[in-house]
């Protein structure tokens, strides 16, 4: 149960080795916090588990493969074996090379599956669990790239646009059953996913995204932007006429 001060008792991190997921776990960590780390078996996952155990958490490592849809139900079942999940974070995603992605059908499909199909499938599975327990949060990591899809990364952007819409809708559907969904739209996040890419203005760290997630849950929000001012920037960009938008260096 999330207590009166917004502190959860259990987390499920899907994409449990992502920088943002771990930043969230670190912020919530306190003795006895149950964390299900769902990711591919790897050294990185073991290291993350060890780190969280050192912070007093009770960690369960759960195998998770985003593109293997048939395995999702088992992953979710294992994660809930220890009791209710207060906060489930959908933190996995794939950026891909934006130019290659619209030339290479396999890569395009992979992006669509990892960033959209798998989250939708898991969203339904988690939604059923949350509906039954009548409390808890699903946090979906969207992106500003989905707010207005741009030429520069439209395959990735379109998958995030789909994810964004699905989870906002799921949130509305779950509301009357006591469960909530938080959609997070970060801008450029300095993480392992974007390593090697050129930084842009308003770039944020995984820790800042984690802080926004925690505040969003405390404030019972449906949608947060990280950093906050991106909301204003993007709502402006959203209405820029296409001929002009095309010429913008974004």
């Amino acid at each position: 149960m999330i207590n009166a001060l917004g502190e959860p008792q259990s987390l499920l991190l899907l994409g449990g080795t992502s920088d943002i997921a771990l930043a969230i776990a670190r912020r919530y960590a306190r003795p006895g916090l149950r964390v299900a780390l769902a990711a591919r078996p790897s050294e990185r996952r073991s290291a993350a588990a060890t780190e969280l155990v050192d912070l007093g958490c009770e960690v369960t490592e759960v195998d998770f493969e985003a593109r293997d849809h048939a395995s999702h139900a088992t992953t979710v079942e294992q994660a809930f074996a220890g009791g209710d999940i207060d906060i489930a974070v959908i933190a996995f995603g794939l950026l891909g090379d934006p130019e290659q992605a619209w030339h290479d059908p396999d890569l395009a499909l992979e992006l669509a599956e990892v960033n959209y199909t798998a989250p939708v499938h898991l969203g339904v599975l988690l939604g059923q669990r949350m509906l039954a327990q009548a409390h808890g949060w699903i946090v979906a990591l969207s992106s500003v790239a989905g707010e207005r899809v741009r030429r520069s990364n439209f395959v990735y952007g379109s998958t995030k646009a789909g994810l964004d819409g699905f989870f906002l809708g799921l949130g509305e559907a779950l509301r009357e059953y006591g469960a909530r969904v938080l959609v997070v739209r970060p801008g450029f996040v300095k993480s392992k996913m974007t390593s090697g890419l050129e930084e842009v203005p308003l770039a944020v760290t995984p820790d800042e995204v984690a802080e926004a997630v925690i505040d969003g849950i405390k404030g019972k929000r449906e949608l947060v932007w990280v950093p906050g001012p991106l909301r204003v920037v993007m709502s402006g960009l959203r209405h820029v006429p296409r001929p002009l938008f095309r010429k913008l260096p974004i």
């Binding site: 149960m1 999330i2 207590n3 009166a4 001060l5 917004g6 502190e7 008792q9 306190r30 003795p31 006895g32 149950r34 588990a49 155990v53 007093g56 009770e58 960690v59 369960t60 490592e61 074996a81 220890g82 009791g83 209710d84 039954a132 327990q133 009548a134 409390h135 009357e176 059953y177 006591g178």
Partner: protein, 481 residues
């Protein structure tokens, strides 16, 4: 009379009827934080309760009374809460017994019980800070009042209770012999051993409904604790309010109020005509218009100073009525709305008398934290009772009401550490935030309680948000720790 004429007392089982899904409603405690959605089942009879129990799924059921526990004790996300407030009949009174006893359905409020008993010259032995609690809730939380140091907590006065158990059977349990363990696990058991549907409570005789009260102001916390340590045994009731805002040499200044039930001879002639009159004026209901941060530096400071200065420096023998002495807050219905939509939490802890220094340090931490509390209570507890989860133990108890604001988690965690280090604990009826790990350290007799629970409710049908939060019904996990 033929056998046929006497219908067997057997709950009806409407299992063949299609189950009408109860809508989910948001339930929260008096602190109005951490609300969740439960199915609220209106219970009008024992049969209703049995039927709700049988229909419950893996989310289980929890009994609920008037919702005065501050946290998540009487809510059950995704499961069922049994609304027992309509089971509110007073069944029988044995006024000639020694002591006199009353048998009631569990949903009777202490308010209506007092109103019914006073004309007989009988008094409910333990009254918490509000009369708007049910007898069932008073037992499940093992509530205490200003007379704990002389009379113990509510459970000490319960002679017998009828418990609807997880297997659907009713069982009468008493503090004697073979039901002793179950009885004491139910006292303070937060509704997790079964649903208390009926109870027999011992009463005390009283000549009047008035109190003779002595009031003393104390200049700081040391003065207050010192004054309180002397002569408490001469008063049935003793409590202090203190200022939790002012820092420096007046830190913890307060007003000590102690009293005894007034004898008939002590009443002025005018009151002597109706010595048992129940005086409970109502000032109305607080509307839901208050924003967050109503309690801010300015209002908290003004209130605390005014409250301190309005009290007489020393006054003895003042006659007060029930509302003045016991329940000033009951004059205003829904007073918790003053804290705004974010709600508040009440932090109440006890530490043994030997740990007075820890107690003082906790007060300092609260006062210097920047978190503001106006309704602060200080009291000395007497001996505890045999219940494994009952809160009171001999020592100092302190209560503060804190609006939920950023950083409150850190203050509460720091207080937990001090309290547990001194062998103390926090009160579950007030709690909405304690972690399971800390709870285990504060209640070393938890295993005794869990053993009873495993025996009487192995499937964990009685369940609540509090039970999940504190892992009182924990499924086995395979986690690394």
């Amino acid at each position: 009379m033929s056998d046929e004429a006497v219908p067997a007392i057997k709950p009806s089982l409407p299992e063949e009827q299609p189950m009408i899904p109860q809508p989910l409603v948001e339930l929260h405690g008096w602190g109005r934080a951490a609300g969740t959605m439960s199915h609220l089942a209106q219970i009008d009879s024992v049969a209703d309760a049995v039927s709700a129990l049988r229909k419950s799924d893996s989310r289980g059921v929890v009994p609920r009374g008037l919702g005065r526990s501050y946290g998540d004790a009487a809510q059950n996300a995704g499961g069922t809460a049994l609304d027992l407030t309509k089971m509110n009949r007073i069944l029988s009174l044995d006024a000639s017994g020694d002591p006199a006893t009353v048998t009631v359905q569990a949903g009777v409020s202490l308010d209506s019980l007092m109103r019914a008993l006073l004309p007989f010259g009988l008094w409910v032995p333990v009254l918490p800070g509000t009369r708007q609690v049910t007898v069932g809730g008073a037992i499940a939380a093992d509530v205490h009042g200003k007379n704990h140091h002389t009379q113990g907590s509510f459970g000490n006065h319960v002679r017998s209770l009828d418990l609807l158990m997880a297997d659907g059977e009713m069982r009468t349990v008493t503090p004697d012999r073979d039901t002793r363990t179950l009885f004491w696990a139910t006292v303070g058991g937060m509704g997790l051993t079964g649903a208390i549907l009926r109870a027999t409570v011992a009463l005390q005789p009283t000549e009047t409904a008035y109190f003779t009260v002595d009031t003393h102001r104390a200049a700081n916390i040391d003065d207050l604790m010192q004054q309180m340590s002397q002569g408490d045994e001469n008063y049935t009731y003793s409590v202090a309010w203190f200022d939790a805002v002012t820092r420096g040499r007046h830190m913890g200044r307060g007003v000590l109020t102690r009293g005894n039930k007034a004898q008939l001879a002590a009443l002025p002639t005018k009151l002597r005509r109706h010595p048992l009159k129940f005086v409970a004026p109502s000032l109305g209901t607080l509307p839901e218009i208050f924003p967050n941060r109503m309690i801010n530096k300015a209002t908290a400071k003004a209130f605390s100073t005014a409250w301190y200065l309005k009290a007489p420096k020393n006054r003895t023998g003042e006659l007060q009525n029930i509302t003045q002495f016991f329940h000033p807050l009951d004059m205003v219905a829904e007073w918790n709305r003053v804290y705004g939509p974010n709600g508040f939490l009440q932090y109440q802890f006890v530490v043994p008398f030997e740990a007075a220094e820890v107690f003082r340090r906790c007060l300092e931490m609260i006062v210097s934290s920047g978190h503001l509390s106006c309704l602060n209570v200080l009291k000395r507890f007497g001996p505890g009772n045999p219940s494994p989860l009952s809160f009171p133990m001999p020592g100092w108890t302190l209560t503060v009401d804190l609006p939920i604001e950023h950083g409150l988690d850190r203050l509460c965690d720091a207080l937990d550490n001090e309290v547990v280090g001194a062998g103390g604990r926090v009160y579950l009826a007030k709690d909405s935030r304690l972690s399971a790990a800390m709870f285990r350290r504060m209640y070393p007799r938890l295993d005794e309680f869990l053993e009873v629970r495993r025996e009487v409710d192995p499937a964990g049908i009685f369940n609540s948000d509090l039970a999940r939060r504190l892992e009182l019904s924990k499924p086995t996990t395979g986690g690394r720790t």
